[in-house]
Symmetry: C2
Subunit: 331 residues, 2 copies
């Protein structure tokens, strides 16, 4: 254990590769109710880049350390901490910045990861699989055999939706932009995989035998969201959790008035903040069970040491990737 | 009582003034469970014109008689009809076409209007005041003193919203397009009346003392709906029930994801179809109480006899009116 740590820091909002630096800070000391966690893995999510750019709805006090997600190992605990001992792999909350080698954090805010799940795997369960879990539980009361539809099915959240839906017995229509993803997402468990195009509605009808679809999951916005909405049964709900196209939803009034579609959205970090630890664990427990069976693994394109933070965020900002960019920290 | 009646009929969809004709039909004879109602008043609503044009989501079998709303007097009852006697003023259901001098209708589908409410008044309670009632009851749990906001506040539904909200103790922000309506709607009971413009959000904040507004009512669509949405507190609901601008809603993804706004819609005829008579009466009873006090009166611009149906629909199709066009039938 060194006496100092590397920490990613930005002092002004701007292009991440320009404004992000790595600085040295003293090794953290725990308050009585805190644990010190040595970070093991932390991904770069789109929301992290948005926050550095100043485009995220919550702006941190500057200078700030980015990172909404990550996992590490407890190496020290304050004197009033119970139920947590050195060596435990834990998932961190999202309000302290995970892009740092170590952090002192309230022990009660940590989620202990059960054995059988590695740090990289654990570091990417709190945002995308948790979003997928909420999308499948909080909006429409689905039963085994029911259908749902999602766009951006190839995203980390989309793949988690496929796996969790399959686990719950729901059937998925998965909409993607590129034909070469069809076989891959079918292998992942997607029941139907279709390329997004104007006649999507008819293609969905044919592929599902005209089954009613009561839940739509939208991470694209714009025309894709409307094509998705048009495949839904009356009184269905479409939940927006991403905006890859950067285009607003365009909703013909008739879809609201006559078809009674309901348009909702979810911000997973806000859900997490408002949830009790009990509510969080009610979702983490089944997610951990799936993870132990090798599911809910987010694809990684490249991992970087924290010292290469600038190169890492530059890579993450590129559109064309086949997986996440993550930080891995030495043990 | 004549042995034949005049009935408005169209045989093909098209421009109402072109395709609508008045024909003679035999005086109706009631089945055992039916009553014969002699019509007294029936308005021309936008949905009536849309259905004649073939633009309404439900297409009738042709030839068809228009008219979703109206009131008349019971003049004859079938032999198994109880609880309904000749002379009762009744509100008609919307599936038989009210633009006719008389009609045989299932007695159980009629709503008896209590004394003290005239036929013209009664004929326009089922769509706009009922829509207003549902808008104020089915989406957000408002408490006395809470604010809501609506556009198209000068419409028949908008004025009903003002009066019902006032009756329930809710405060209204009313958005209109023309400044000259401000005094009129204030006199009607509107707490705040504002002209729709780009800085609506700030104007609303100033006028309400920055009170949270959790319900938005949209009958315009397009930019107006978005300006309305931007005045709402997080986790609020905006309900669409009209589309005067003919423009779709354009919803930035962030309003769904980060602000957690919920977009809904209502189609009052569908609500009415799905409701039990008990549920309908739970709304009609308080609406009747208000009507007896002289409230919920829809402004009439001009009334026509049914024989002038072509001229009536031509007038109703014009945008610039100060009230409804209605049919009044001889006693």
């Amino acid at each position: 254990m060194s006496k100092s740590i590397n920490v990613a820091v930005y002092e002004t909002h701007g292009n991440p590769a320009d404004v992000l630096d790595v600085e040295t800070q003293p090794w953290p000391t725990p308050s009585p109710d805190e644990a010190v966690v040595q970070m093991r893995a932390a991904p770069i999510n789109p929301a992290d880049l948005n926050q550095i750019e100043g485009k995220y709805p919550v702006r941190p006090q500057l200078p700030a350390t980015p990172g909404f997600e990550g996992a590490g190992v407890v190496v020290d605990v304050g004197k009033s901490v119970k139920d947590l001992t050195a060596g435990a792999l834990v998932i961190l909350p999202h309000n302290l910045g995970t892009w740092r080698e170590a952090v002192a954090v309230k022990a009660s805010a940590l989620v202990i990861v059960p054995p059988g799940i590695g740090p990289v795997h654990a570091a990417m369960l709190k945002i995308n699989p948790m979003t997928a879990w909420r999308l499948l539980h909080d909006y429409v009361d689905l039963k085994s055999g029911d259908w749902l539809i999602q766009n951006a099915a190839n995203s980390a959240a989309g793949r988690a939706v496929i796996q969790i839906a399959r686990n719950l017995g729901y059937k998925t229509v998965n909409v993607v932009r590129r034909e070469e993803l069809i076989d891959e997402l079918r292998a992942e468990g997607g029941d139907v995989v279709l390329v997004d195009e104007e006649n999507l509605r008819e293609e969905v009808r044919n592929a599902t035998g005209n089954a009613p679809i009561r839940l739509g999951l939208n991470a694209v916005g714009g025309g894709s969201a409307l094509r998705l909405a048009n495949t839904l049964a009356p009184e269905s709900t479409i939940v927006t959790f991403g905006a890859m196209s950067l285009q607003p939803l365009k909703i013909p009034n008739g879809l609201l008035i006559f078809k009674d579609l309901r348009f909702r959205g979810i911000w997973i970090n806000k859900w997490y903040d408002n949830a009790t630890m009990q509510e969080r664990m009610d979702a983490f427990r089944p997610l951990f069970e799936m993870a132990k069976r090798g599911l809910l693994k987010t694809k990684v394109e490249k991992s970087y040491p924290l010292s290469e933070a600038k190169a890492a965020v530059a890579n993450a900002a590129q559109g064309k990737r086949s997986g996440k960019i993550i930080f891995e920290f030495g043990e």
